[in-house]
Amino acid sequence: MIAERPTLKLVDRLYLTAAWNGFKVTLRHFLGRKVTMQYPEQRWAVPPGYRGAPYLVRDQTGRTKCVACQLCEFICPPRAIRVTPPGPAVDPSTGNVEKRPRQFEINMLRCIYCGLCQEVCPEEAIFLMQDYSLTGCSREEMVYDMERLLALGGVHHDHVRKWDRVRREAAAQETFPPNPIY
C-alpha cells in the first residue's frame, strides 16, 4: 500500500498546533489520577496462583519433601533443574522415605516459570512461589542450590503426610495382633 503524503498547509508546517495538542494530553495526565507505580519502592500485590520462581519446601515437621525422583528434571522444558541423587549408601536419617536429593539446583536464568515441575511432582515438594524479580551479579549466583531453594521455599503444610502414615502403619504391624492405628 502506498500512503499518500498530504501536502501541509502553513499552520501545519509551523507545528504549533501539534505541540499544543501534545501539551493538552500531558496536562490531562498530570492533573488526572496517578497510575504509575513507583517500582521498586512500591511493590505490586502478587495475585494468588501467580507462577513465580520455583522453590523447594519442607513439611511442618521440617522434612525435606523432595525424594529425588527427578521427574521435574525430566519434564523441565529448558532443563533448568539438576537433581543429584543420593547414591547407594543407606542413610538412616531419612527414615522410611529412603531417598533424598544430595543436591538440587535450579538455574533461574533458564527457568521459564512454566510450572511443569510443580505439576509433575508426586511429593508436592516444589512450588512456583511469588518471587518474580531475581537478580544476581554472575551466572553462577543465579543457579540456586538446595539449601537456598529450601530456605526460600519455607514450610508447606501437608495435610496427608503419607510417609508418616505408612511408618505408623508398619510400626503397628510389628506386634501381633496388629494395633489399629486410626
Binding site: 525424594v67 527427578q70 521427574l71 529412603e98 531417598k99
Partner: protein, 561 residues
C-alpha cells in the same frame, strides 16, 4: 511362521507345524519350540501369541527360565475343535470347524497349543481378569514409585497403565514387610514391592546352580529371603535385579544413582573376559552408570557375571592419561608425538625392534599393529591375563580379544611366550627399540632397568603405568566404552561394540593414532575409520575374509577358522 491360506483346513497343517488362531488371525506355529535349556518342548499359547504378534502380559514367565505359572497375569481364553460322537471334529455346514470354547481360562505360559485351537486375548473376560490380577498384586504394594529404582522399567507400572484399573478399591490397611533387606553383598531386597513371581529363585537355583533363595511365610506375609544364616552371594546375583519385573531386587551398585530414563543405551560388549557377553551401557552426560546384559543366545543368553558388570569404575579414575607425553616430548601435542615416533621408527633396524600389543585392543587396532610389525620386521606378542573360570560365563582368559590377536598373528600361540625372550634380547642388547600398546610390560617380566637401556621406547595405555612413566613417548588410549571396534571372543565369534562416552582430555582411540602412524611409517594409508580398517583386514587376513562389518549387526558372526 507363515500365514496359512484361507482355504487351508486348520487341522491339515504341514508336518511339524500346528495351525492356531489368535484373536481371529490364523497362524502356523511349530509343534515344538526350545525351552529355557534349549530342549524342544510343545509350543505354548504364549509363544504362539508372540509368533502371531500379539502381546500377552506376563510376570513369572521368562524365556530363559523354567516355567512356574504362578503370577496368573497371562490368563487367556481359548477354544478347541469340538468332537462329534464319532470322535471326529465336528464341522459347520460351510466346512469350518465347530469350536468349543473352554469354560475356564488358561495360563498362556504353561498351556501347550493343539491343532485348530483358538486363543482369545482381548475379550472382556480376559481384560477383567488382567485387571483383577493387577488389583490383587497391588493391594499390598507400597506404591513408592518416586523412590523406587525400577520406576521407568517396571512391569507393574507398565501393565497397570496398560491393563489395570484406574483407581484402587482397597481401603483396608496394607501388610507391611521389610524394606532395605541386605540379601547379599550386591543385592538389596524390598519385600513389600515383591510380587512373588519366583524368577529370582528359579534363576539362581536352575541357571546358576546356587539354591540360595526361597519364599518364607504364608499368604500376604510371603516374602523372598535367603536361607537363614546364608547370604545371596554368587557371581551372577545382579542378573536377578534385571529379571525382577518390579523393584524388589535392586543393585546396590546402581541404587539411587540415576533414574533409568535418563540413561543413554549403547550396544556394547563386556571386556572383562574372553567370553564377550553382549551388554547395554547406560550412560548420561559422559558418565557410565551401569552395564546390563543384552540377549545373545550364541554367547551369553540373557545374563552376565557380576565381575564384568561392576568392572567399569576404573574408567573414570584420576590417573587417566589425558595427553601425549614422554621424556622426549617437549609439549603435550599429538602432532609432535606422532612426528617424533614416526621419525624414530624410520631409524629402527629389523631384528632390533619388538612390539607388545594388548589383547584388549580391538581387531582393527591389532591389524594396524600387524601392519606396523610387518613393515618394521618386529616380532610381536600380547600380555596374558587370567583368573579363575566358572562353568557358566566367566572365562579364564581375562583379555577380551586374545583370539583376535592370535588370528592376526600378534599373540604367540601361547600368548605371552615371547615376553621372556624379549626381556632376554633387551638385556643382551639385541632389541634396541620397543613399542608397547596398551600394557605395562614391567608387570609382565620386563624389568624397568632393562627398559631404561632401550634406545627407543614408545608406550600407550589408558592409565599411567610403570612403562609409560619411563617411555620416550607415551600416548593416551581409550577404554573400550570410549571407542568403536570389534573383539573376537574365545570361541572365535567376532562382535562389534559402539562408543558410549567421550575419552577424557586429549586421549584418542588407538585406531585414530595407529592408522596415522601406519600411514607415516609405511607410506600406505588404510583409512581412519573402523570400517575402512576392517575392510583392509578382511582383504589380508583369512579368518576375516568372509565377514563384512555390516554383517556383524548386533550379535556378531562366528569366524570360519
Amino acid at each position: 511362521m507363515k500365514q496359512s491360506q484361507q482355504s487351508n483346513d486348520p487341522l491339515a497343517a504341514p508336518p511339524g507345524m500346528i495351525s492356531v488362531t489368535v484373536d481371529g488371525r490364523t497362524v502356523l506355529v511349530p509343534r515344538t519350540m526350545p525351552d529355557w535349556q534349549g530342549r524342544q518342548v510343545p509350543t505354548t499359547m504364549l509363544q504362539a501369541c508372540e509368533l502371531a504378534g500379539v502381546t500377552v502380559p506376563h510376570y513369572c514367565y521368562h524365556p530363559k527360565l523354567p516355567v512356574a505359572g504362578n503370577c496368573r497375569m497371562c490368563l487367556v481364553e481359548y477354544g478347541v475343535p469340538a468332537l462329534g460322537p464319532d470322535r471326529k471334529p465336528m464341522r459347520q455346514p460351510d466346512g469350518s470347524l465347530v469350536i468349543k470354547k473352554s469354560p475356564r481360562p488358561a495360563i498362556a505360559c504353561a498351556t501347550p497349543v493343539s491343532p485348530g485351537m483358538e486363543i482369545y486375548t482381548s475379550t472382556p473376560t480376559v481384560k477383567l481378569m488382567r485387571q483383577s490380577v493387577l488389583e490383587f498384586l497391588l493391594i499390598n504394594h507400597p506404591l513408592d514409585c518416586p523412590i523406587c529404582d525400577q520406576a521407568g522399567e517396571c512391569k507393574l507400572q507398565e501393565y497397570s497403565v496398560e491393563y489395570g484399573r484406574a483407581s484402587s478399591r482397597f481401603v483396608e490397611t496394607k501388610v507391611h514387610k521389610n524394606k532395605q533387606v541386605d540379601l547379599g553383598p550386591r543385592i538389596m531386597l524390598d519385600q513389600e514391592r515383591c510380587i512373588l513371581c519366583s524368577r529370582c529363585i528359579r534363576f539362581t537355583r536352575d541357571v546358576v546352580g546356587d539354591d540360595a533363595l526361597g519364599i518364607v511365610n504364608r499368604g500376604s506375609y510371603s516374602a523372598i529371603a535367603a536361607y537363614p544364616g546364608t547370604t545371596f552371594d554368587n557371581n551372577y546375583t545382579l542378573n536377578t535385579a534385571d529379571i525382577c519385573p518390579v523393584g524388589a531386587l535392586t543393585s546396590k551398585d546402581f541404587r539411587f544413582q540415576m533414574r533409568v530414563w535418563f540413561l543413554k543405551e549403547t550396544m556394547s560388549l563386556c571386556a572383562s573376559c574372553g567370553t564377550g557377553c553382549n551388554i547395554v551401557i547406560g550412560s548420561r552426560e559422559n558418565r557410565i552408570y551401569r552395564f546390563t546384559p543384552r540377549q545373545n543366545d550364541a554367547v551369553n543368553s540373557c545374563w552376565m557375571c557380576d565381575y564384568g558388570r561392576l568392572n567399569y569404575r576404573w574408567i573414570e579414575r584420576a590417573d587417566r592419561l589425558t595427553n601425549p607425553g614422554g621424556t622426549k616430548l617437549t609439549k603435550p601435542d599429538w602432532e609432535d608425538a606422532i612426528n617424533g615416533i614416526a621419525a624414530g621408527l624410520k631409524q629402527t633396524i629389523p631384528g632390533h625392534i619388538a612390539i607388545v600389543a594388548s589383547a584388549r585392543l580391538t581387531n582393527e587396532e591389532l591389524y594396524l599393529v600387524r601392519r606396523l610389525a610387518q613393515f618394521l620386521g618386529a616380532p610381536t606378542d600380547c600380555a596374558p591375563r587370567s583368573g579363575p573360570a566358572d562353568n557358566l560365563l566367566l572365562c579364564a582368559d581375562r583379555n577380551p580379544n586374545t583370539k583376535g590377536a592370535q588370528l592376526l598373528g600378534i599373540a604367540a600361540s601361547l600368548p605371552g611366550a615371547n615376553l621372556p625372550v624379549f626381556a632376554r634380547l633387551i638385556r643382551n642388547g639385541t632389541i634396541r627399540s620397543l613399542l608397547v600398546f596398551g600394557e605395562d610390560v614391567t608387570r609382565h617380566g620386563i624389568a624397568p632397568e632393562d627398559l631404561a637401556r632401550l634406545d627407543f621406547l614408545v608406550a600407550s595405555d589408558i592409565h599411567s603405568n610403570g612403562t609409560t612413566m619411563i617411555s620416550h613417548y607415551f600416548l593416551p588410549g581409550c577404554a573400550h566404552v570410549e571407542k568403536r571396534g570389534s573383539f573376537t571372543n574365545v570361541h572365535g565369534r567376532i562382535q562389534k561394540f559402539e562408543k558410549a562416552v567421550d575419552p577424557p582430555g586429549l586421549a584418542r582411540p588407538e585406531l585414530y593414532w595407529l592408522s596415522e602412524l601406519v600411514c607415516r611409517v609405511t607410506g600406505q594409508s588404510v583409512g581412519r575409520t573402523v570400517e575402512s580398517v576392517f575392510e583392509a583386514m578382511r582383504a589380508e587376513v583369512p579368518a576375516f575374509r568372509n565377514i563384512a562389518w555390516a554383517d556383524l549387526e548386533d550379535h556378531g558372526v562366528a569366524t570360519s577358522v
